[in-house]
């Protein structure tokens, strides 16, 4: 049996139809994306943008650490400053949620009202992240890759624990 080459597989019209479909999908996807970012930029107040940037920085540093650990040859010279950044950011979290910046104030945010109605719970969750990232700093300083690998799961759980209770489920 002879194997036909890919280009001969479809009739010209079929190929045209396919290209059209792919183009339509692409256009539809881009339209949706553009619409989303426009509304977000228009309605998000500066303080919410600031905390979302802060959380993204937290995520970037954490990703850097996880990527290093997965690489098989983790570079402690990169992990240690990332752990420092995470701990510094964790300590700043209380400044990111002033009164009037919650969904109950009509603000577009993924923070739940519980951040303001359950301040003790929120503070405890924030404190947990401060502690787990402090240990991350110590392990990075000690250069203990195996212990780090186990500990990032604990750190990840302290992110997820707070998100479960204080962030819109996505």
């Amino acid at each position: 049996m002879s194997t036909p080459s890919l280009t001969h597989l479809m009739t010209g019209r079929a190929r045209l139809g396919l290209t059209g479909m792919a183009a339509a999908l692409l256009v539809a996807g881009c339209g949706q994306q553009a619409g989303e970012t426009e509304t977000a930029a228009a309605e998000t107040p500066p303080i919410v943008q600031e905390r979302q940037e802060g959380y993204k920085a937290l995520g970037s540093s954490f990703k850097l650490i996880n990527d290093q650990l997965k690489s098989g040859a983790p570079d402690m010279a990169q992990i240690a400053p990332a752990a420092d950044r995470m701990n510094a950011l964790a300590q700043q979290i209380p400044n990111w949620f002033p009164a009037g910046s919650g969904p109950q104030d009509g603000v577009e945010t993924d923070a739940l009202e519980t951040v303001w109605t359950n301040p003790e719970g929120f503070s405890a969750a924030q404190q947990r992240l401060v502690e787990t990232t402090a240990e991350l700093q110590q392990l990075a300083a000690a250069g203990d890759a195996a212990a780090l690998e186990a500990h990032v799961k604990v750190v990840g759980a302290s992110c997820g624990g707070c998100h479960d209770d204080f962030r819109v489920e996505q």
């Binding site: 597989l9 019209r13 479909m21 995520g59 954490f62 990703k63 990527d67 799961k153 992110c159 996505q170």
Partner: protein, 220 residues
Amino acid sequence: MSSDASSARVRVWDLPTRLVHWALAVLVLVAWLTGGERMDIHRYAGYGILGLVVFRLYWGVAGGSTARFSEFVKGPGTVLAYVRGWRAAPSSFGHNPLGALSVLLLVILLISQIGLGLFAVDVDGLESGPLARFITFETGRKAADLHELNFRLLQAAIVLHLVAIAAYALFKRRNLVGPMVTGRDATAGLEGELRPAPLWRLALGVVIAVLVVVLIARAG
């Protein structure tokens, strides 16, 4: 359906095509149920789907005749004519011109779903696809959002697929599920012949699919 006319039960789908179909159904369900919950299982389900789709693309060029894109993908004119005369249209051997579009749509959505998943990063920054280390956290988050959006499209396409199967059963008394299980179609008056692919082609396809999955999983 007459069960006595065993001579009329023609072979339509080869075994690899059927296995890929049902394995995809199971793994997409598993991936759906474990997404965001059991990311270890979700990851393996994704690798499985990746391998199946790679194999299906290969089989669409090298497989049995009814699995080949060149045999079932038709131009817009043929599709339109088929839709217009849908009620009276004679039973197709293998994919009909409209079903072919459904196959393409599902395959395209599966490819984009896997592609996005490979780069997706979880909000906690802990879980991520094997290729996420080549991109930034923010881009990885975008990939995760699109992974979610694309899944809604995939779900819609699957619903459409199921509705179409029900419509053929209801309005045209055509059993499409049975042949996808047994490989044989008992529809009266069905004409056509499945030209199966030789075994070595199957072996080659399995090797290619496994290689692709291993290379990508190792990259992470």
